[in-house]
Amino acid sequence: MSLTRRWAEMALIPFLMTVVFSSAHAQGGRLLATGGVSQFEGAAGGGLEPWALITGYGTEDEIGGAAHYTTIHTDSYGLQSAGVKLGFFDRLELSYTRQRLSVDEDVVEATAGALVSGLEPILGAPTVQTVSGTAIDMDIFGAKLRLFGDAVYAQDSWAPQISLGVQHKRNRDFGRGVTVPYLGDVGVPALLGAADANGTDFYLTATKVFLGVPFGRNLLLSTSVRATKANAFGLLGFGREVINPLDGTLLDADDGYEYEWGFSAAMFLTPTVVLGGDYRTQSSRLEDQPVLGLLGAPDLAEEDNAYDVYLAWFPNKTLSFVAAYVDLGNLPFQADSDAVYLSLQASF
């Protein structure tokens, strides 16, 4: 089955769930949009940032949930995300999301070209030729626990709603998927110097809604701090382990957690349209990579901070749409990965 078709089918998930949710008369009792949309890793939030809010429309007495499909397309990369999540009693959120980073042929060819030009003087002409693009799939299992605070109703308090989250990510194409000269079948994350296929992020997020201000609008502000080993959100693996490909010796490694910060704002322009944006730092631990340096590109996998600006439309509690401009920063062989981001969510 072609990849395109497989993803077209995943895009059907939110549509099908819309039908189920709207026919089940199980609509939750929270106010419109208070479950957020699905951030690209599958948690309730904005485009890139998780919020302290719990997904769906379930109140403290109810179970809510959502399904989403998101596609981001830049020149040489595509990032798709589809997932489901449940919110239990406005307290606990459990989510599963599959992400796919598709890498166009030109990026693979450029990588192969760099390898050949760097290694041909040493190893002679390569026997393996690269022909196709590749994809990196990742599973994300998320949980978010609301610790305390009431972002929406406690308008008599500055105290935000605070939640603790965890995202366990399993990169399914860490060490395979692309055929490159000299090395044969390798994975892009391993090739770029990542240490692990799997990693677990922990984050704290604080969210507050300001009803009626500024200009009579409802404004949501949110911030988060995340402890992570992820490279490019885990799409390029976790940690750093640079091995000399010629003799297998370890050149350097970095297996520690680093902090990444996020900031998010969203404002209702009308009762159903929200203008928002997210900013998220990245720790960039794959930069200055000595093996890639031999090929003349030590910062091939350097990470930039990512941001997005979006419009979200909530025509009702069952459906929401997001259209965004997103910049994921540097991706290998593409210095500016700015892109259009489209997302669809069904919720109850």
């Binding site: 939750g28 009792g29 929270r30 106010l31 109140t59 403290e60 007495d61 109810e62 406005d90 009431d150 929406v152 109703y153 406690a154 308008q155 008599d156 308090s157 500055w158 300001f210 009803l211 009626g212 201000v213 500024p214 200009f215 009579g216 609008r217 409802n218 209702f268 009308t270 009762p271």
Partner: protein
């Protein structure tokens, strides 16, 4: 209109209001400078703390008749709302309109002193859920839209009512 310290949160203020407020209500003409200075003692919601509006929400809504007009529609909506109308069986709709109008007038800085029951007492034994509370909010949002209350003012009314939730639900 003078408003004095109303620090008791969330809702005892509604019954304490009559004790704490000047009895001169309605006879003292509205004055921008005194209204502003009294807002310091009226710092209840984030909206009230952060708002830069000179005129009270009461005045911007258009006074008592404008409030009463959307409250009448809001009560009509909730009495027709199958999610919550059973909670209002046997309730005098005219009295409900009066009590709600007085509350909003009071909270919005108008010349009213809500001296009805506290929210805790008024909802005692009803075991109102959060979903039912939200259903009422939605009914009143719809009523304000039907009465052409600007969206910004609608949000500010909701901002004043939102902190009542803990006093109303699960009683």
């Amino acid at each position: 209109m003078k408003r004095f310290t109303l620090q008791q949160r969330p809702l005892p203020i509604l019954s304490l209001g009559s004790v704490l407020m000047l009895s001169a209500c309605g006879t003292v003409p509205s004055n921008e400078s005194t209204a502003e200075s009294n807002l310091k003692n009226y710092d209840r919601t984030l909206y009230e703390q952060l708002s830069t509006e000179d005129a009270s929400l009461y005045d911007r809504l258009g006074g008592y008749e404008a409030i009463e007009a959307f409250v009448i529609d809001g009560v009509d909506n909730l009495l027709a709302d199958e999610r919550i109308n059973f909670l209002f069986e046997g309730v005098d709709a005219n009295n409900l309109v009066f009590q709600l109008s007085e509350q909003i007038c009071d909270l919005a800085g108008g010349p009213c002193i809500y001296d009805g029951m506290s929210m805790e007492d008024a909802h005692f034994g009803l075991d109102i859920t959060e979903a039912q509370f939200n259903a009422l909010v939605e009914d009143f949002q719809q009523a304000m839209r039907d009465n052409d209350v600007p969206y910004g003012l609608e949000n500010q009314v909701v901002a004043l009512l939102a902190p009542m939730k803990p006093a109303i639900i699960n009683r």
